[in-house]
Amino acid sequence: MSTRVGLIINPDAGKDIRRLVSSASYTSNFTKVELGKRVVMGLNASGVDEVLIMHDNYGLGEDVVNMLSTHINTRLTLVETKGSGTVQDTLVAAERMRRSGIKAIVVVGGDGTLRAAFKSCGSDLPMVCVAAGTNNVTGAYYDATLAGYAAGLVATGVVGGECLRSAKALEVLINGRSSDVAVIDVAFMRKSYVGAKAIVDVSDIVYAIFSKGEPTDIGLASILGFLDPTPFESDRGCFVEFGDGGLEVKAIIMPGEFRVVRIKDYKNLNVDEVVSIPSGRYVVALDGERELEVYEGDSVSVRITRKGPLLINVYKVLNTVSGACKRGASFGRRS
C-alpha cells in the first residue's frame, strides 16, 4: 500500500492586519510556493509515494505540482476544494486527505492553519506546521525541507511515536454544545464585532484560557510564557482574568510589539477541567483570531483536553535518524 502525506499551503497566512500595526512580515505567495517545494523535496527524499496537495485559489499548490512533478519520484496529486478562498478550503482539503489515508500532514501557514487541519484530521494524525503565519507558536522554524523530510520519515514508519508529542486542545462549549476548538488559547474580548480577526489590542481581553505558553512564544501565548511557562507536554493549562489589581506582565503580542498586560488573577487548570465564563457579550478569539460571538444569557465554558494535534518533533526525528545513520543505516530514496 502506498504511503501518502498531505500538504496544505495556506494562501492567506501571514497577510492580515498585523502588517499595518506591527513589524510582522508579509509572507508572499512566492515564498509559500518555495516552502511548499522544499517540503515536497523532503517528502520525496524520505520515500513517500504520494503527496496530496490542496488546490487553492491562488494556484500555489498547482505551482508546486507543475514545478516538481516531472523531477521527483513521489507522485503529486492536487486535492480539489470548492475554492471559496476561506478557511473552508483547508477544512475540506484536510478532510479529503484524511479519507484518502494519509499518514501525516504538513501545513505551510500559521497557528490558524494548523488548527483548521487539526479540526479535520483529529488528534491521531501526525502533523507539522512550517511557520508562514504571524505568531507561529506551533510552527517549526526549521527549514521546510527538514520538516518535509521529518514528516516523511514518520509517515513511512522509519521513526515512531517517540518522535511525536500530543498537544492539548481547548474545547469551547456554548449552551452545552461543543462549538469550536482551539489549540493554544481562547480569549474572551469586550468587542462588538469579529472584524479583521487578528487580535491587535490586548486591552479588550477579559478572560483567556491557555493550553500552552512559553517564553519563546509570541502572541497571546507570550503572556503565559512570562507569567507561568507551560509547554504542550505538561498536563495543565491556565485560566487568566485580565484587569487591574494583580500582576503586570510584559509580553510580545505581535512581532516587535511589547505590551504591559494587567493580570487580575490566574489559576492553573488540570487536563479535563472545565472553566465557566461569566455571562456577557463577548467576541471569542481562538488561537489569536476572533471567530465567535457570544451573547448575554449564553452559557459558555471551555474544557482543556489532551486531545490536541499530534505534533511531529522535527528535531527528534532527525536526531533519531542521524544516530541510526552513524550505525550504517540508510533511509528513504538515494536520489
Binding site: 497577510k15 494556484g59 498547482e62 514545478m67 462588538s192 472584524g195
Partner: protein
C-alpha cells in the same frame, strides 16, 4: 469604539448605495439614462468601510465604478442622479455623467473613465496634503484590472519614496471587465498565476493587507490602521479587498464570462445582509430600525429620480461651459 450612531450611519450608506444602484439598473434598462454606467452593488462594504474614517479635508480618487464612493463621501444623491440623466442640476451640471462625477466640496476628486488614472491624482493630492501639514489623507480606489496599468505602479512608487499619506484600496471584484483577476495579475513569475496585488505593494516597501471586502467591519478595521498610518506621517498603505460586483461590468454586459452559480455563491455573502445579522445579533439595531433605514434610503432615491426627471437639460448654448477649467498660469 464604534458607536451605535456610527454603525447605523454606515448601514444607511450601504443601503443607500444599493438602493441607488438597483434603481439605476432599472432606469438604464428602461432607456432613461444616457451613456455608460457601471454599478457598484455588492461592493458597498469597501467604500463605506474605508470612507467612514475620512474627515473634512481628506480626499478620494475614484474609478469608472464610482457611485458607491460618491455616496459614501456624502455627494448629494439628487445631484448624482441628475448627473446620470445629463441634467443641468447634476453634480457636474450634466456634463460629466456617471463616469465623471466630482465634488471637490466633499473631497471627491472624481470618478474616472480612464482605468488607473486615479493613482497619479491621488499622488498629487497627497503631496499637497503632506506639504500643507495637518494630517490629511487621500484614498485611492482602483480595481484589480487597474493594477496592471503603468500609472498605478508609478503612483505606488512615488507614494513610497515620498512617504505620502495615501491609502491605496484595491477593489478586487474578481474581474477586469471580463477577465478573471486570477488570469490578469501574474505574481508567480515562473509558473502559473497568483492573484494578489498586495504582493506588489510589498515590493515597493508599502505595508499591505488582504481584507474580506464583503465584511464592512473587517474593512473598517484594516482601513483604520491604514488611515492612522497616513495621518501619523508613516506613509502609504495598501488594502487588497476581495469583493464582487453583482451586475455586469457595464449595464448591458451579457456576462457570458461567469456563471449564475458563481453570482449566487457571492450573493450568499452579501455585505448588507452580513452587516444586518451582526447589528441584530449584537443588539445594536432592531429589525424595525433597519427597515426604517432601508425605507428612508428608498425614499431618498425616489426623490432623486423625481428631481432628476423634473430638471432641465443644459441649454445648447452651454455646451462648452463647465467642460474645461480656466488655466491659472
Amino acid at each position: 469604539m464604534l458607536t451605535q450612531d456610527k454603525l447605523l450611519d454606515m448601514y444607511y450608506r450601504m443601503v443607500l448605495i444599493r438602493a441607488f444602484e438597483d434603481r439605476v439598473h432599472e432606469l438604464f434598462t428602461q432607456g432613461k439614462i444616457p451613456g455608460f454606467v457601471h454599478l457598484y452593488a455588492g461592493e458597498e462594504a469597501v467604500a463605506v468601510g474605508v470612507i467612514s474614517h475620512l474627515r473634512r479635508g481628506d480626499y478620494i480618487t475614484s474609478t469608472h465604478r464610482g457611485h458607491g464612493h460618491c455616496i459614501a463621501m456624502g455627494v448629494d444623491v439628487k445631484g448624482m442622479m441628475a448627473e446620470l440623466y445629463g441634467k443641468k442640476t447634476g453634480t457636474c451640471r450634466g456634463k460629466g455623467g456617471s463616469m465623471h462625477i466630482a465634488d471637490f466640496e466633499v473631497g471627491m476628486l472624481g470618478a474616472n473613465g480612464i482605468v488607473g488614472a486615479g493613482g497619479p491624482l491621488a499622488v498629487g493630492a497627497a503631496l499637497a496634503a503632506k506639504y500643507k501639514g495637518g494630517g490629511g489623507v487621500v484614498v485611492c480606489f482602483a480595481g484589480d484590472g487597474a493594477q496592471n496599468q503603468g500609472a498605478v505602479l508609478e503612483s505606488l512608487n512615488a507614494a513610497a519614496i515620498w512617504k505620502l499619506p495615501i491609502v491605496f484600496v484595491v477593489e478586487d471584484n474578481q474581474y477586469a471587465i471580463s477577465l478573471r483577476s486570477l488570469s490578469s495579475t501574474k505574481l508567480q513569475p515562473r509558473v502559473s498565476t497568483a492573484r494578489s496585488v498586495a504582493e506588489r505593494a510589498v515590493a515597493f516597501g508599502i505595508p499591505s493587507v488582504t481584507v474580506d471586502g464583503m465584511d464592512v467591519l473587517a474593512v473598517y478595521e484594516a482601513a483604520k490602521a491604514a488611515v492612522e498610518r497616513g495621518r501619523a506621517g508613516e506613509g502609504p498603505s495598501l488594502l487588497d479587498c476581495k469583493t464582487y460586483r453583482y451586475y455586469g461590468h457595464f449595464e448591458g454586459d451579457p456576462m457570458v464570462y461567469r456563471s449564475v452559480e458563481e453570482i449566487d455563491e457571492w450573493r450568499k455573502k452579501d455585505p448588507i445582509k452580513l452587516f444586518e445579522e451582526k447589528l441584530l445579533k449584537s443588539g445594536i439595531a432592531t429589525q424595525a430600525i433597519l427597515s426604517d433605514l432601508r425605507r428612508k434610503a428608498a425614499l431618498e432615491v425616489d426623490e432623486a429620480v423625481k428631481f432628476a426627471e423634473g430638471s432641465p437639460y443644459p441649454e445648447p448654448s452651454e455646451a462648452y461651459t463647465d467642460v474645461f477649467t480656466d488655466p491659472y498660469y
